[in-house]
């Protein structure tokens, strides 16, 4: 099945129910009515508010902290400094350690040294945020600035300032090499070798809701309740237990509505620990909501990396080896998810190459810690790989489309293990490539004479092909990487007396439409009406232990758990209904709100009656236990690999370098689409984030002062509605053989191809200038400079 998803909104053949339809979203009504419940909407009685004082320096010794009159200010209730935190907590734990790297003792407040601008140094709780901020202004902190380093490549040079002296030599946390075959021998013997250094910009995911927490402690009940804007409430609970030395049973973490996550809200941050410490000291609820200025400095950044990428090929275009040695800028500390790991996993893209080598070098600098962000390394490596494919094509005089097609893995090659060990499950990569080319009218462009258009602009088309890892290949795979979370999802289904099914999940709701998709799977498998399924998300006090919403993994894993739990619940439901209808369980079926006889649908019993009988234990067979509830866990055996090709058409003013993306086509395969409307939304939304990172977004640090120079919304240019080029989405639908229903993840794909496709289009338009773009973001200034060979 190929085409636009709107063309296939009817149920797939043989299906009469919910899966594969654009069911209306469960989440919408409350959000449309201003009735969502985000963290700052939660206001427990007698709550106090926290404000955090942060380092203005990228690197400095703290010589002293003088609280001055802050403690006497009316309304101030509690102040914490670094020494308090060191005596009361353990260092922050991480969820995805850098394999082979030393642990860094990252506490919620700085000790003797601050390592990035924005690092928390002191925190104050008062009757209002305003009063707490007043108090911060009364606190004198004596800093002694010390030399800093804000560029990862400079940090590796001899003599560079050391971010963690004694713990990490030369600012290199670790090198992680992977590969197969003998790429160096292949390179030496190759007809042609192209290589380049590609710089990927530091950006941030910028969810519209910043982070936030409300912490409440009842010492008598030994209950710490934490409302948090997080993608992973069960992992927040785990980490808080570790850092605060509390048993997990004393902690309940709740994420109700989350206003966007994108990877930034994975695991705890220093402020989460601080709010809990204050609340436990005061026996009063403490709220902290990050302001946007803080967000730009205190919430993880992403992407920044330098790739030295190399492709060796025969003169006929056959690729014989690929190598990539890259440095990721971790910032001053290791965050919960640290620097991106997927650049290594998919470094060879969709191409068939047996000899390959990839090495990740994780580098410390005096900048805000790097964390996960939608794509998690895949946009970065795609930019390097796909730019070089085009350069190879130009070098060999081969059409870039045909060069890609020649080297792509074919459906019959799959499953296939790439040189980094990733096992691509299935797909037709070339089909997506050809569809993208056709949609953008590639052949006509190639056939047209290379002259400026009537408006004086030069036109170019660029392609970018990719594979994308979605989900995780089992907990055994994660164990080898030291990850502190599982690969499974879990769910509890509970029948209620109204004839509905309550679904309890630890997957919080952050825009990804999991409530909708979960209800669709339950409806599909159990047979119950969609409207009779209610999803209760994000409360560790109600949901089974799970992993969480990240890595495009939720549906892949949760669909299995939802299916197993629905089947178990349905089997018992049918037995109880058959008892009521005085027939065999094999003679009845669930249909919407009733259970009915297969041979005589007029004979039925309402689900409400069956469920009530089960809950009461009255009117059920003597051998049956009362109750109707099922919990299931599911762990996929393998990751599923999404894939696709993007094509961009740009026009460039050859005098100024100003350019427009006039068309952007993405052909993509996420396997079976549970809800086509939601799939479109996920792909389109991620695509615009990818376009933002490709064309304008960049967190810039001043080399002299080490300070973030554009850390406000006023000068960090996330796309607004007029900035978005026309986007055309096309899909293929190759079910994955390794996941329930053949689902592949869909949340991150759009971030991957925009930068390379647009850069390739610009280089195509400007081929007569010999332009080769290797730095992001792609601004008119960058293009203009490249045209002039600077």
């Amino acid at each position: 099945m190929t085409g636009t998803l709107e063309q296939r909104s009817a149920p797939a053949e043989g299906r009469t129910s919910l899966l594969g339809t654009s069911a209306a979203r469960k989440e919408d009504d409350r959000l449309l009515r201003g009735d969502g419940r985000f963290t700052d909407d939660i206001e427990p009685a007698h709550a106090l508010e926290m404000a955090v004082g942060r380092s203005p320096y990228p690197h400095a010794r703290i010589l002293g902290i003088d609280l001055g009159l802050a403690a006497e200010l009316e309304g101030v209730r509690h102040i914490l400094v670094g020494a308090d935190v060191r005596s009361a907590t353990r260092p922050l734990t991480v969820l995805r350690p850098v394999p082979g790297a030393p642990a860094l003792p990252y506490y919620a407040l700085a000790g003797d040294v601050v390592r990035y601008e924005g690092e928390p140094v002191v925190s104050v709780v008062a009757t209002s945020r305003a009063v707490a901020e007043d108090a911060l202004e009364l606190i004198e902190i004596d800093y002694e600035p010390i030399p800093h380093v804000s560029d990862a490549m400079a940090a590796l040079e001899p003599g560079a300032p050391q971010v963690h002296p004694g713990l990490v030599e030369r600012n290199l946390m670790v090198s992680n090499p992977e590969g197969t075959g003998d790429p160096e021998a292949r390179v030496a013997a190759a007809d042609v070798v192209v290589e380049g250094r590609f710089r990927i910009n530091r950006v941030t995911g910028l969810p519209m809701e910043t982070r936030g927490i409300v912490a409440e402690w009842r010492p008598g009940a030994r209950e710490l309740t934490v409302h948090s804007s997080t993608q992973v409430p069960h992992l927040v609970r785990k980490q808080l237990a570790e850092v605060l030395s509390l048993p997990e049973s004393d902690i309940r973490a709740v994420a109700s509505d989350v206003g966007g996550g994108f990877g930034l809200k994975l695991g705890i941050y220093p402020e989460d620990v601080l709010a809990c410490l204050h609340a436990m000291a005061l026996r009063r609820p403490v709220k902290w909501v990050e302001d946007r200025m803080e967000h730009f400095r205190a919430t993880t950044h992403a992407r920044e990396a330098t790739h030295d990428y190399r492709i060796a090929a025969r003169s006929d275009g056959q690729i014989v080896a690929i190598t990539d040695t890259y440095a990721t800028d971790l910032g001053g500390w290791n965050s919960s998810f640290g620097s991106a790991q997927l650049s290594s996993v998919v470094f060879t893209g969709p191409y068939k190459v047996d000899d390959g080598y990839v090495e990740r070098r994780v580098v410390l600098t005096n900048k805000t810690p790097i964390g996960a962000y939608r794509g998690y390394g895949q946009p970065e490596v795609n930019f390097a790989c796909e730019r070089l494919i085009d350069r190879l094509a130009r070098r060999l005089g081969i059409d870039p489309l045909e060069l890609r097609a020649k080297n792509m893995l074919r459906p019959e090659d799959l499953p296939w293990r790439n040189p980094a060990g990733a096992v691509y499950d299935s797909g037709d990569y070339e089909l997506c490539l050809r569809m993208a080319a056709e949609a953008i009218d590639y052949d006509a462009h190639r056939a047209a004479p290379r002259v400026p258009r009537a408006d004086g602009r030069l036109v170019g088309i660029g392609l970018s092909s990719f594979v994308e890892r979605t989900g995780y290949a089992s907990s055994r795979f994660l164990a080898r990487r030291g990850s502190q979370f599982g690969a499974h999802e879990s769910v509890t289904l509970r029948a209620n007396r109204s004839g509905g099914i309550d679904v309890y999940t630890g997957v919080s709701t952050m825009g990804q439409s999991s409530e909708t998709a979960f209800a669709q799977v339950v409806g599909e498998v159990f047979g119950i009406a969609y409207d009779a399924v209610k999803v209760h998300a994000g409360d560790t006090g109600a949901s089974p232990l799970n992993t969480g919403a990240f890595a495009s993994r939720t549906m892949i894993a949760a669909a299995g758990a939802l299916t197993a739990a629905s089947e178990a619940l349905q089997a018992k439901t049918l037995r109880l209904a058959a008892w009521i209808l005085e027939c065999g369980a094999e003679d009845v079926e669930v249909a919407g709100t009733v259970v009915r006889r297969r041979d005589d649908p007029a004979v039925s019993v309402p689900l409400a009656d069956v469920f009530t009988a089960a809950i009461l234990g009255q009117g059920i067979p003597p051998e049956e236990e009362p109750g109707l509830e099922a919990t299931a866990h599911f762990e996929p055996t393998d990751a599923a690999y999404s894939f696709g090709t993007a094509a961009a058409l740009v026009s460039v003013d050859p005098d100024t370098g100003e350019f427009d993306v006039e068309r952007f086509v993405l052909v993509h395969d996420c396997g079976t689409a549970v809800n086509p409307m939601v799939v479109e939304g996920q792909v389109r939304g991620a695509l615009v984030q990818g376009l933002g990172a490709a064309l304008g977004e960049e967190l810039r640090y001043d080399a002299d002062t080490g300070q973030l120079v554009n850390g406000t919304m006023m000068d960090y240019f996330a796309p607004a509605a007029p900035d978005v080029p026309p986007i055309e989405l096309l899909h293929t639908e190759v079910p994955s053989p390794v996941t329930p229903f053949g689902i592949r993840g869909v949340g991150e794909v759009g971030t991957i191809p925009p930068a390379a496709a647009i850069a390739n289009a610009l280089c195509d338009a400007l081929v007569d200038f010999g332009v080769e773009l290797d730095t992001l973001p792609l601004t008119p200034e960058v293009v203009w400079q490249a045209m002039r060979g600077r």
Binding site: D28, R30, V678, M713, A720, V724
Partner: protein, 166 residues
């Protein structure tokens, strides 16, 4: 505090009287004093547009106003749109077009477009994009929002024309 100021505001048809600190901004006032948490705060510098409400019919960013400046004004927030359990046609248009994901920005768009709708114009797609440039969304990529607004403006204009014809 002695320098607190008295304000009387009509919010969603109800009169609210309060004594507020002079530095309290209007968005925080609506959220934390009036209890209307549908108005969201995303940047507190007038860029993101989450906090957009109607003040005397104009769409304004309430983080850039002090609560004290609302004295004597009529304010409408997102909570005023639906009637009972029935979504306002604009809300329904957003739902139909999948014009929201996390929903944090949605009230800002809804109130911006409510003011736009009151002008009674049909707008081209580029014009709609310019009109909503003051509200950011990080989830949808905007196209579904633009589509929802276009449909809503067209339907509203058609309704108005039909009413005028009667």
């Amino acid at each position: 505090m002695t320098d607190d100021v008295d304000v009387t505001v009509t919010v969603n048809g109800e009169t609210v009287t309060a004594r507020v600190p002079p530095r309290l901004h209007a968005a925080d006032f609506l959220r934390h004093r009036v209890g209307l948490t549908g108005t969201h705060v995303g940047c507190e510098q007038g860029v993101c547009g989450m906090c957009t409400v109607l003040v005397d019919g104009d769409a304004v960013k309430s983080c850039l106003l002090f609560a004290a400046q609302l004295d004597g004004c009529t304010v409408r927030t997102v909570e005023s749109l639906a009637t009972g359990d029935r979504l306002h046609p604009l809300q329904q248009a957003f739902k139909d077009a999948h014009a929201l994901q996390c929903g944090f920005c949605t009230p800002g768009f809804l109130m911006t477009v409510t003011a736009l709708t009151d002008r009674g114009e049909r707008l081209s797609e580029p014009e709609i994009r310019e009109e909503i440039a003051g509200v950011l969304c990080r989830c949808t990529g905007y196209d579904p929002i633009v589509k929802a607004i276009a449909r809503h403006l067209d339907a509203t204009a058609a309704d108005d024309a039909a009413r005028a014809a009667r």
